[in-house]
Symmetry: C2
Subunit: 365 residues, 2 copies
DNA sequence: GGTTCAATCTACATCGTTGTATATCGGCTG
DNA sequence: CAGCCGATATACAACGATGTAGATTGAACC
């Protein structure tokens, strides 16, 4: 019943050539008589032959696939990041396999060490549970590019963003608008690493440079950076009775949640409270009101990550310094800070890129 | 420099057993002396052996991977769908490879016929460019599950939603709230198939059952169902001067865009205009105001699609009727229709599921 | 006219597993 | 005690492609 797969063997037989010649035709090897090529192509067509990618992968030791490990696609930032990375990979002839780690430590380790290690040529990894102490786990013997702000000293290439500087710029911008009681949503108490810690640090620097005091009462905690947690953190801040005239949500999802919570209490944005997010996802360009946000250069992050990985794959085994790349980011002003009256969005601050840095300790990736 | 991959051969040698025994240990074959098993495990541990998935795939003719083809992940509905499908697949021990078609005809055909055909065990395909005329292209010789509303007579299992009934219910609900000038955003002029046509049909039926006339001036067109196109369509409707007291956006992304456009014109939702979307994505639960929407049963769609595909894969070659599954959907009422004052969301209408239907023309999938 | 070389094609081994058939051993059955 | 069976382990071929080395042309070269 089930038609057995057509192989090169069958094609070779029908075309009256060797199986290797079929392979050569399929792979575009140039030195083939036009007549032969035609016979082979006819046979392929007639038999409906399709190359077996798995067999080729085994023989060539390449799969032309890469893995992208992110927490979850239902978080808009990661969905958009995945979109960009898939496109960038496609341009390089690569297919992307997505692993959702759910920000679970176990799953993140599994991605690094698990079964599928031999299935793709490399890994772009955006950790959320692992931290600096886990650097050892990243010493895998295959091409790896790390994203994000949790692990900086990994033996791997690293694409990140200018968190501190951008957060500082956000805070300064809010201060420049005359806001004095700038709250934060999404802090992680006691944490020393990761986006939360860095952006909070930028916030403190921004306050300081604006001559504003740091008030712990203005710092709202939120574990996972979802819309819902942002709304909860915002609600708690408001309920605490602390005076607030601006909110810096450490990512856009929380900014949307915060906006929701503000609206529920009939607090006007931006008249009563100004609001800024981080990530510049599509949502904040259409929310009501639109939300000012930090564009961390998502496209560039994606393209760079793929490019670095492709390089590592090509040079597998060749030692070369690990690189840290930090694309330029910028603040896009929108209604939530009164920077534009409606729609649009305009750059109100550009944050210098960190450029490309080569790290001494050059091991083999 | 580069460590050559450790194979079963190396493990076998170190453990002093045959390579097949190593394979048996790795695969959990029961009849192995504990002592032997331990020696093998020690060797695996010591050498850092990892199974080569590609080789196994070749030998077993299975990859335990499935392909999911969607237009793009930056559309929230598809991001959430992908999330759900990846989780459902994981529960079945499958990994998901995502292909973005960008709603391009060419890419959609490529996904069906392309190189990677032999790389995964099956395909879950959500077409946006192909239509009923392309049914022939779907006669592929491998497990396939089709999603969506564009192709109904494909020789494949099909998971869809109750578009007409749900859209009718939405319209009736708006009418029941006293709205008389119900506009639509996202129609596709002249199109006979697909979500747009079906939902528009439901809209017409809803109007009719409510005794309201159908007014073409109230129908706004939008090609791609993005936030931006929804905003444009809404703006055009408003600029046309037509009277409107409710808007049915044919998906949530457009509803968010429409809300944005309404807000830009200082039109209050829901006081001046009520708004309903479709898909029940996360965004509409946190927008300002929150938006009433149709929950098409995304989780169930995902689980069903994976389950059907798994069944086809297991029974490859066995003929069995093609099935069409239509999960139940429901309208979740929120602020944009005044159904709740804030937050939350409550079911205001349940739409009967279409159940499972078996289609006569049973070919082999 | 022998040599050289590019073009064209083929044979064979190989990538790292798993399926199949088979060998060996000891114990249990009747 | 012959016969049988389950437990344990192995040898060998096979999955479907590609890399390597080499065979066979015919034209070009000196």
């Amino acid at each position: 019943m089930k038609a057995v797969a057509v192989t090169m063997h069958d094609v070779a037989q029908r075309a009256g050539v060797s199986i290797k010649t079929v392979s050569n035709v399929v792979n575009g090897y140039p030195h083939i008589r036009p007549e032969t090529r035609q016979r082979v192509e006819e046979a392929i067509e007639h038999l409906g032959y399709r190359l077996n990618t798995t067999a080729r992968n085994l023989r060539t030791r390449r799969t032309d696939m890469i893995t992208l490990a992110v927490p979850e696609l239902s978080l808009p930032y990661f969905a958009e990041l995945a979109d960009s990375i898939i496109r960038a990979a496609e341009d390089e002839g690569l297919t992307v396999l997505i692993e959702q780690t759910s920000a679970s430590r176990e799953r993140e380790i599994e991605v690094l060490t698990g079964l599928r290690r031999h299935l793709t040529d490399g890994l772009i990894f955006s950790p959320l549970a692992l931290g600096p102490h886990d650097v050892g786990l990243l010493s895998v013997d295959r091409p790896l590019v790390v994203l994000g702000e949790r692990i900086f000293d990994a033996p791997a290439d690293h694409v990140t963003m200018n968190n501190v500087a951008a957060a500082k710029a956000v805070t300064q911008h809010l201060a420049a608008l005359g806001r004095r009681r700038i709250a934060v949503v999404g802090a992680h108490e006691g944490e020393q690493v990761g986006s939360a810690a860095l952006r909070l640090e930028g916030y403190r620097q921004g306050l300081e440079s604006a001559g504003l005091p740091f008030d712990p009462a203005l710092v709202g905690e939120a574990g996972l950076w979802h819309r819902s947690t942002g709304a909860e953190a915002m609600a708690q801040l408001l309920d605490s009775g602390v005076e607030v005239d601006a909110v810096f949500a450490l990512n856009d999802a929380m900014a949307l949640g915060a906006l929701h919570a503000l609206h529920a209490r009939r607090i006007d944005v931006p008249d009563d409270v100004a609001l800024v997010g981080f990530d510049d996802i599509d949502d904040v360009k259409f929310s009501v009101p639109t939300i000012t946000s930090v564009d961390p250069g998502r496209e560039e992050i994606a393209r760079t990550a793929v490019a670095l990985l492709v390089e590592r794959i090509a040079e597998a085994g060749v030692p070369r310094p690990f690189r840290r790349v930090v694309p330029a980011s910028r603040i896009v002003g929108r209604e939530s800070t009164g920077d534009v009256l409606e729609g649009g969005g305009q750059v109100v601050a550009a944050v210098q890129p960190g450029g490309v840095e080569e790290i001494e300790d050059a091991r083999t990736a």
